[in-house]
């Protein structure tokens, strides 16, 4: 049944929308907005990890770049929310385009660790040398212009806006992974040399994927700073990389739907169960071990096969 749902694009998107609407109106709207944004982040990350087969341990960098790109523009230049979000995406994509030149040439462990190291560098830059424009440790409080009903101060509007963005991103990513390009990504994941001998410049396509992934994560970052009306260093903290990796893993890597399921599952646990779990990180660690050893296909991966 789940496999069939996934084949049908409209049904998938409809299901995602319905799930979040029901969830939001039975619990709390602002909280589910956080969930939605996080799911966008997971989708961006999973494009690299699940679809292309490269684990990045530093994608908080691109979330942070999006958040600060958006936040700094709003703070210093113009409070137009749409331009700010666009600036966030462009900052992250630009950064990915710059760093990707180096990063994409590595693979495996070096890829993961280089990303982590660059994330550290980014976090340091934001905290210290650039503190005049980033607000350093205090971060920036943001204000966004409203235009009639387009009011980012209103949590209901923010919810629907983020949901719409999520659906749009999911739609585009679904198209992307089911296009010839998506097929190529699968091929690169399995055997890059072989893909090259089909005439593809695999380095270029990996680079493009890295930029797309960075842009999607940047979008998630921009939405975060719009949603929170501030941005601070926690949005670029390297130690938080584990959240997105964990989400991709429990949801089921390599599937757009899996990213949504994983993101929602992780946020649900961390928001609602964390209050009852005294040692949160210990719990997270044990859960990670469990998933890494026994449950690698993730929730959606198993549901789809059943």
């Amino acid at each position: 049944m789940f496999a069939k749902i996934e084949k049908n694009q409209a049904l998938t998107l409809g299901l995602i929308a319905a799930l979040f609407l029901v969830y939001a109106y039975t619990t709390s709207l602002p909280r589910i907005t956080d969930f939605i944004i996080f799911c966008i982040f997971v989708m961006g990350f999973d494009l690299l990890y699940g679809h292309m087969g490269q684990l990045s341990f530093g994608h908080m960098l691109y979330l942070g770049a999006g958040a600060y790109g958006c936040g700094m523009f709003a703070y210093h230049v113009s409070p137009n929310p749409f331009v700010c979000i666009l600036m966030g995406i462009l900052t992250a994509a630009g950064l990915a385009a710059l760093l990707g030149q180096v990063v994409v040439k590595t693979g495996g462990a070096a890829f993961a660790l280089l990303n982590l190291a660059l994330n550290e560098v980014g976090a340091y830059l934001v905290l210290s040398p650039m503190h005049r424009i980033t607000g350093g440790e205090d971060g920036l409080s943001l204000f966004f212009q409203s235009y009639g009903f387009i009011n980012f101060g209103d949590s209901v509007f923010r919810f629907y806006f983020c949901l719409a963005v999520l659906l749009l991103v999911a739609f585009l990513l679904l198209r992307l992974v089911r296009s010839p390009f998506g097929n190529l990504l699968k091929a690169i994941k399995e055997d890059e040399v072989r893909a090259r001998f089909l005439g593809y410049n695999t380095y270029l396509y990996k680079y493009v994927t890295f930029i797309i992934s960075g842009a999607v994560c940047g979008l998630a970052g921009a939405l975060t700073s719009v949603n929170l009306a501030y941005c601070n260093t926690s949005l670029i903290a390297p130690t938080r990389n584990v959240e997105v990796i964990f989400s991709a893993l429990i949801g089921g890597a390599g599937s757009v739907m899996g990213a949504v399921v994983g993101g929602t599952a992780y946020m649900t646990i961390s928001n609602y169960l964390a209050a009852y779990i005294v040692r949160w990180e210990m719990f997270l660690g044990i859960a990670l071990l469990f998933f890494a050893f026994y449950f690698r296909k993730g929730i959606w991966g198993y549901a789809r096969r059943a």
Binding site: L114, S128, V242
Partner: protein, 281 residues
């Protein structure tokens, strides 16, 4: 000039500590193809062991060092047995995730016991060594000497002992060693424990130069990964050179640019190295 010599000596200190910690990391990397985040946990445990013994029990720093090593042995044995051994031949991402999970569990346990706030340890020697205009805490000199001794000791270990030779051979061709009837994994486990004990020692040595917090392992670990990547995974000579070279970068940046940029400078060097010598692993 004096300033330069002094910062070079500081660089040697950091390089020495990086070397002591990175050796184990590099071996697990090279011999088993595993990125071992839990190494950072052992490092932190070493530092906390010193804190417990030296400061809480008041038994002195030297006894603390011994305690750090003693504690690390059963801990790393358990990690090897329960986690690392199951990751042989698996995709690298699961190794990263699983060992990171161990780091999380361990760091949270440390926080549980000791609290989250940073804990200081004072310089155990407390003597300032002066020579001309040069000023240097004697403790830092001890670290340099100790790392030199460990370097010599490890080289002797790999050249002279049977276990060392098995590991050297196994780094090159694990299957061929097994086909002689030698249980390679068991010997790697010994070396894993030795590498972990060194990490604990590194934590114990570095603790007085910084402060303790449950997540201290994470920060230093990324520096050590940089060392291992720059030096070549599983390449012991490369690791040694890279540790001291990056230690210099760290210290010179701290003195001549700004101290908070030191870590970042190391990563930039690592990225630069990767531009010229891409690594697929």
């Amino acid at each position: 000039m004096i300033n330069l010599i002094q910062s070079l000596l500081y660089g040697l200190t950091i390089g020495g500590v990086l070397y002591i910690i990175s050796v184990g990391l590099s071996l697990t990397f090279g011999a088993m193809g595993i990125v071992n985040f839990s190494h950072g946990l052992v490092y932190a445990v070493g530092a906390y062991a010193v804190y417990t013994v030296a400061k809480l029990l008041g038994a002195g720093y030297l006894l603390g060092l011994v305690a750090a090593i003693v504690v690390s042995i059963p801990l790393s044995y358990l990690i090897e047995r329960l986690v690392i051994r199951r990751l042989y031949g698996q995709a690298i991402d699961y190794a990263i995730i699983a060992t990171y999970a161990v780091l999380l569990i361990g760091a949270d346990s440390l926080r549980w016991v000791y609290g989250a706030s940073p804990l200081p340890i004072s310089d155990p020697v407390g003597v300032l060594w002066t020579f001309g205009g040069l000023q240097m805490p004697a403790f830092r000199l001890i670290i340099i000497i100790l790392s030199g001794l460990i370097f010599i000791g490890l080289n002797l270990f790999f050249k002279k002992t049977l276990v060392g030779k098995i590991v050297v051979a196994g780094l090159q061709d694990r299957e061929a060693v097994r086909s002689l009837g030698i249980k390679v994994e068991r010997h790697f486990a010994i070396v894993f424990v030795i590498g972990s004990a060194l990490a604990a020692l590194g934590g114990a040595l570095y603790a007085p130069l910084s402060t303790l917090d449950p997540y201290m392992g994470f920060e230093i670990l990324i520096l050590c990964f940089a060392v291992v990547i720059v030096g070549g995974m599983g390449n012991l000579t490369g690791t040694t050179i890279a540790a001291f070279a990056l230690g210099m970068v760290h210290s010179l940046t701290a003195v001549y640019i700004v101290s908070s940029a030191a870590d970042a400078a190391v990563y930039v060097v690592m990225a630069a190295v990767l531009i010229f010598r891409p690594i697929e692993a």
